[in-house]
Amino acid sequence: MKTYVQHGKTMVDSPYKVEGKEKWTLKEKLLLGLTPRQYLAQAVRNPFNWILALIFAVGLPLIAGRFIFGLSFVTHSSNDYPWGLFLAFGLFAMVPLSASGFMLGTTVEIFGRHDFAPIERLALLNGLLGYFFAVIYLMVDLGQPWRLPYPMVVSFGTAAVLFLVAWHVATYLTVQIAEVSTSFWEWIGWPLGKQFIKKIAVGLTVSGIILSTLHQGALGALFTYAPGKVHPLWYSASFQWIHFFCSAIPAGLCMVIAVSTIVKKTMAWRCDDEFLDRLDSLTLGLAKGASLGLITYLAIKLIGIAHENEWAYLATGWGQWFMLEIFIGVVVPIALFAYGIRNNRPGLVRFTAFLTIFGIVLNRINTALIAFNWKLYQEIPHWKEVVICLTIFAIYVVTYRFILYRLPILYSWKEAPALAEEPVTEELRCPRSEPVPVEMYRSVD
């Protein structure tokens, strides 16, 4: 891609092939305005695609095997550890990392911080894809995935936490599809769709906050069914849901920082100037939010220990592991974020975001797998389970990239020339290094 851009090729970023005259066809849009041969050439040239191909070559047959020969073909199929890596990583870790959608939606639409608008669409997409693939992981893990709609239509276990999770994740996926669809309507050229979504944006965002609060929390509350099985340091009947919800906030924000970092490094050609110029200051802004979330999370974790008087456990081996998790995933990030924000070091902040993500993922895997059944024995996932997890993650990355290449997520769609000449819209596209006052955006709404 870089090579083509260097040779003066512009990728599809407006409805018109030739200014104001000839429109791009759908096929051309899909190929980014390249010829099929050019498109294939760039795909083959990219070494990352070869790594993906290798993962798929091993992983896809294993996924097929899981559906032909059953779960025992790829997992340890343990009655003691009913939930393995598919859920520990795929569901319990992917969902908090996808809290970005409702976080940035709230920031921009509810609090009116339109200076975060350039990164809002990336955050919404990150949320949508994270949830979607959490459901994919779930489908691989469920015994009878074809019955996934049962809690909605066939039989209702209304008192179960999982019932709430199922309904909320399904509803929230719908909300997120609607939120992300604005860029799709622009790209496909159906402005009515976009206008409709804009009209209901506040409603969508508020329902996003409600649904997120409840199901992020509910994922934690699922473990309150297993008081004797989860180690007391990772368990809290009263606070489990709020621990999960609160840690999802820095997780989601850091995921936006992490993804935007990768995007800036690997597909800068697709980002417009506004995105690239503003990214550093946006990163610092997101980091501020994340560090507030982390400080709160640290506080309520300590309250959780104090509430159930679990201090004695800290002196055990489990306690050391717990403290290591908190130190690497929470305390160090708080310190590094503080230093990075204060001294205006976006690079350090980006590193810290990755560290925070690691910390949150570790927390979820600890709760669901490592500190689970602590009185029994340690489950080590089957290698095929690990490979399938990696494969689904690779599919997630490919889907993510496919969408970022095409839809106006990282760049703004250049509308019809007649519109583009309007001064306000033009002004919007100007690169800015400072946050834009809210007033400037008002007239666009």
Binding site: G70, S72, F111, G143, Y150, A160, A237, D445
Partner: protein, 308 residues
Amino acid sequence: MKISRRRFLAASLACGAATSLTVTKNALGAGTFEGYPEGMGVLVDLTRCVGCRSCEAACNKEQNLPEPAQPFDDTSVFDQTFHGGQKRRPDENAYTVVNRYDQPDGKSPVFRKIQCNHCNEPACLTSCFVNAYTKTKEGAVVYNPKVCVGCRNCMIACPFQIPAYSYSSAFDPVVKKCIFCYDTRLKYGKPPACVESCPQGVMTFGNRKELIKIGNDRIKARPDRYVDHIYGENELGGTGWMYLAGVDFEQVGFDTTVGKEPIISNVKEFLGTVPMVLAIWPALFTGFHLLAKKKEHHSHAEQEDADQ
């Protein structure tokens, strides 16, 4: 983006409706359920068990389970240990197993039968999001494989680690556990197969409330023989199957840390917050939105004034 009064009202109404639904749901879950009055149970007297495994054989036959690798008169299975030094546990091919617990100081070993305890407020039932479990009025906890999605939350929730899953089946994996011989016996007032097969009279089948009396009478009559406790009378809200033992219950593999509250009590705190979030969040965040926008509208009006 302006939020009109109409839209605000519509949103409030929708949320109100959602809240009332959730409140109903939680009202059903509130309170403590102490079991159906006519609920049946089994009192297992571990002091009488000699480890003959007749009950395992009877269960296998009654439930049409596959033939085991070792015959039921083979006592070498008591020496088997599994992952983490665990003893045998019920699985998809055996709904009940007997284990031997060697005792210190040269005392004779104690045998213990394990199967579903048929809780009064079963954790499996309350954790199931498709209502696959039912606590029948006869006291059995039965499972409906036709609606099970296979999330295995029941296995996470069960404090006795009873439900097992047929992982090896690709197209019809289901949960497998003791159902108190509900379909073939309990429904007709008959005791389960294992109880009937026992040559030692280890198990007494009867009304759960009567069984507690019988248990207490035995303890009173032979205080030297029994530990003064009926395991399952109050554990986790009470179970249909209850145990008498001559040694401390920990020494025969019982978890004595489970407490008296049923599992669902741990979850109620969260379930209680759900209607609150549904009711408060819409107004709270729409309010934030209005607060954040107020200044803007204000300046907008000012600007319009200036324009004129």
